[in-house]
């Protein structure tokens, strides 16, 4: 029964429009073990909404429906809002794209990390709490964590901010981390550091990871398995190291459209969208 960490069956998310509801995610099913799953797609493919729907965080007026949403043997759809809050953060955490919008500007970094722990019911003395926070900052490889804990968010760089976000998300020791474009606001050299860090922490704590990104190459590098989404549907699912053998024309199109470092093509192949997408 608890063989899978997460089971999701036939997820649908729709938004009302003037011409009736528009389905943005139409029938996504996936299962996840303690592994690293990548969800790739372009903007509007529904990949981010899929991530949010797992935490039942689809904002109104969006509506989600799902046949089965089971996390570690627990039916999430049967839980009330209070039950969901106990799951969010404590057992499933989410890292968002831009740390600037996710950190509270008037609280120090240390207080925010401690707060994340306190919200999920940890009762620790002030000193013990401080030690936990500092050791967490150390884990995300921040030099001089004692000092950084006293910083406000505007005093830290983008890469450091994202590492602090990750520290906040990981301090309650969740079983599953959902990372939605965790590095697209960062420079390439910092990107690699942050992803290596996530990778390392996942491996050490034996967690599951869902990495949502538009960047095929990045996902192929950091995940075990890849799901390619287009227009709200899964068009291809394959092990990351077999992505080169992908067969669906959309996946192939995405791969070919990226210029290569040793580029010699005079023109890049362009996706013929009319060929398969119904939109």
């Amino acid at each position: 029964m608890t063989e899978h960490l997460l089971e999701l069956e036939n997820l649908r998310v729709s938004f009302p429009t003037r011409d009736g509801p528009a389905e943005v995610v139409s029938g996504v099913s996936l299962t996840l073990g303690r592994e690293r799953l990548g969800i790739v797609g372009e903007s509007g493919s529904g990949k981010s909404l899929t991530g949010r729907a797992i935490l039942r965080l689809v904002r109104p007026p969006g509506k989600m429906s799902v046949e089965r949403l089971v996390f570690a043997g627990q039916d999430l759809m049967a839980l009330g809002e209070r039950g969901m809050r106990a799951i969010r953060g404590a057992r499933i955490s989410m890292v968002m794209q831009d740390p600037k919008f996710s950190l509270n500007p008037v609280m120090t970094v240390g207080e925010q990390i401690a707060e994340a722990l306190r919200v999920h019911g940890a009762r620790l003395s002030r000193q013990a709490m401080r030690r936990r926070v500092v050791s967490m900052l150390e884990q995300v490889r921040i030099n001089d964590p004692e000092r950084v804990a006293g910083f406000y968010p505007h005093e830290v760089s983008g890469g450091m901010g994202q590492r602090i976000m990750i520290a906040m998300m990981l301090i309650p020791e969740p079983d599953l981390l959902i990372a939605d474009e965790p590095t697209s606001a960062l420079d390439v050299s910092v990107q690699a550091q942050v992803l290596d860090l996530i990778d390392d922490l996942i491996a050490r704590n034996g967690m599951g990871l869902i990495l949502i990104s538009h960047d095929l190459e990045l996902v192929a590098r950091y995940c075990d398995r890849i799901i390619v989404m287009n227009a709200g549907r899964i068009v291809e699912e394959c092990p990351a190291d077999r992505l080169g053998e992908a067969t669906h024309p959309y996946t192939r199109g995405l791969i070919d459209a990226v210029p290569r470092m040793n580029e010699t093509r005079e023109e890049l192949p362009v996706l013929d969208r009319s060929a398969w997408s119904g939109t």
């Binding site: 210029p259 290569r260 580029e263």
Partner: protein, 252 residues
């Protein structure tokens, strides 16, 4: 002839200089890239050339013409810019037609309608987009409009500020192809700012790597394709961008 010449260009933003002593020569018809990470000053150089960062010292010449510190009308017909964010670079209350006709009106050029229609065709936009508002267009279509706007005055030099970084990869491919074709057809000179080395490999002939407001290396694109940079930081950037190994593409 030199299309863009920078001599010992130092640029400030209110306080301390953010670009120090940049010297660069870009030949007419060339496609040149300035690469670097955020804060390297690459966009600031572009802004100074365009006249949007007036606090600089040194010399800027474009096609032999010395550049003043402010945007001016004559310069507008020689050099134009395409911005990074297709959502922020188009006036939200103006139709495509208004946006494209505006430069003609400013410079007192007639035959608005014909020129707008021709330009839409040149950037691969159907005529039915002519009277749409930006919010009715996708990111790629907006960027086509922005490119069309930059070309309305038939400039010879285009400054491109991360023209595809806000776009999906499949749309990026379309825009890159378009830019490449326009350069060939109109014999344009490109100065492109980007952090994406893959795009440089596809689009450009030479590149300069910037860090902390200085150029650390200038190289032919062949060095990029082979990954044989001289400078340690350039090599670092190359490695962080995935190096030569594009594991997915290689397998296909």
């Amino acid at each position: 002839m030199t299309a863009i010449g920078l001599r010992d260009l130092t640029i400030g933003y209110g306080g301390d200089p953010v670009v120090h002593g940049v010297t660069l020569d870009i030949a007419e018809g060339e496609s040149f890239a300035l690469v670097g990470e955020s804060g390297s000053g690459k966009s600031t150089v572009l802004k100074a050339i365009a006249g949007l960062a007036p606090d600089w010292s040194g010399a800027i010449t474009v096609l032999g013409q010395a550049r003043g510190h402010r945007p001016d009308r004559n310069f507008a017909r020689v050099c134009q810019m395409v911005f990074q964010d297709p959502y922020g670079s188009l006036h939200p209350r103006k139709t495509v037609d208004d946006t494209l006709a505006e430069p003609l009106a400013i410079h007192g050029i007639g035959e608005h309608a014909d020129r707008v229609v021709d330009m839409l065709a040149a950037v691969g936009l159907d005529r039915r987009f002519r009277f749409r508002f930006p919010h009715q267009l996708s990111g790629g279509q907006r960027q086509r409009v922005a490119i069309a706007r930059a070309l309305m005055l038939e400039p010879k030099v285009l400054l491109l500020d991360e023209p595809t970084s806000a776009l999906d990869v499949s749309v990026q491919a379309e825009i890159l192809n378009l830019l490449k074709r326009l350069r060939r057809e109109r014999n344009l000179t490109y100065l492109m700012v980007t952090h994406n080395l893959h795009v440089v490999a596809f689009m450009c002939e030479r590149l300069a790597v910037m860090r902390h407001g200085r150029i650390v290396e200038t190289a032919d694109v062949d060095r990029l394709r082979q990954g044989t940079f001289d400078n340690a930081y350039s090599r670092e950037l190359y490695a962080a961008s995935g190096g030569a190994g594009a594991p997915i593409a290689a397998a296909g």
